[in-house]
């Protein structure tokens, strides 16, 4: 479990602070004028079902390796400055933060593209799995073809 705040990737059970993460991305970084963040949260419903919580499992070791590859690909494709990816695991309740991607760049277009690219690939390549708890019981979520299509676009 990585908790080093200087690392680009952190898999953690603890919550994170958007403000602190953005402050770290911006600290001593006056050359990057653009900062794009994505935050994913637990929604109260999914495909018509009322959700009470999500439990996230991951594959330690492979998670970090796959995210590192995705970030490195983004750095090759766009002129970006700093990157941070945080993904929480364990049980998360409605409204809680699940995932954070932050990217800085000199120019906004690169920051937007790289951030969305990282999220799209995280969704289909990083070994995380969500189990959804609803009033009707618990079940593992199925992967979505739409996510495969989004990643294939790039």
């Amino acid at each position: 479990m990585t908790t080093n705040t200087d690392a680009e990737i952190s898999i953690q059970t603890a919550d994170f602070s958007l403000a602190d993460e953005v402050a770290l991305l911006e600290q001593d970084n006056a050359i990057d004028g653009a900062v794009v963040t994505f935050t994913g949260r637990v929604r109260n419903q999914n495909e018509g079902k009322e959700v009470t919580s999500l439990t996230l499992e991951h594959y330690p070791g492979m998670t970090e390796k796959s995210l590192t590859k995705i970030i490195n690909t983004a750095k090759e494709r766009w002129r970006i400055g700093r990157v941070k990816v945080i993904h929480r695991v364990g049980e998360l309740f409605i409204g809680e933060q699940i995932v954070f991607v932050g990217v800085t760049s000199k120019h906004r277009q690169d920051a937007f593209a790289a951030n969305e690219f990282i999220m799209d690939y995280l969704k289909v390549q990083a070994p995380f799995w969500k189990k959804e708890s609803t009033k009707q019981g618990n079940h593992w979520l199925d992967a979505k073809t739409s996510d495969e299509n989004k990643a294939a676009k790039w």
Binding site: E57, M62, V99, P127, D142
Partner: protein, 82 residues
């Protein structure tokens, strides 16, 4: 020996998170799948699922991927993080 790990729905269906297999007869991930599927009817059904993904030493691979003693092979359903 090959270390084999299972995640998420697959881990629950097999009721197994990790096992070790002698690798003498196993040259690819496909061989390993066949060996695992032959354990019993439940394992056979579970490994009949074409959507299952495999990784060797933390890299996603295809079934033809060669494996050798000391490798860590993982099987899991399509990922759903983010």
């Amino acid at each position: 020996m090959i270390k084999v790990v299972f995640f998420a729905a697959l881990r629950e269906q097999l009721n197994c998170s990790e096992l070790s297999l002698n690798s003498d007869q196993l040259t690819t991930v496909a061989d390993l799948k066949t060996a695992l599927a032959s354990k019993d009817e439940n394992w056979q059904q579970v490994f009949a699922n074409n959507a299952l993904l495999s990784a060797v030493n933390h890299d996603m691979v295809h079934s033809e991927q060669a494996i050798k003693s000391g490798d860590e092979v993982a099987f899991f359903p399509p990922v759903t993080g983010g």
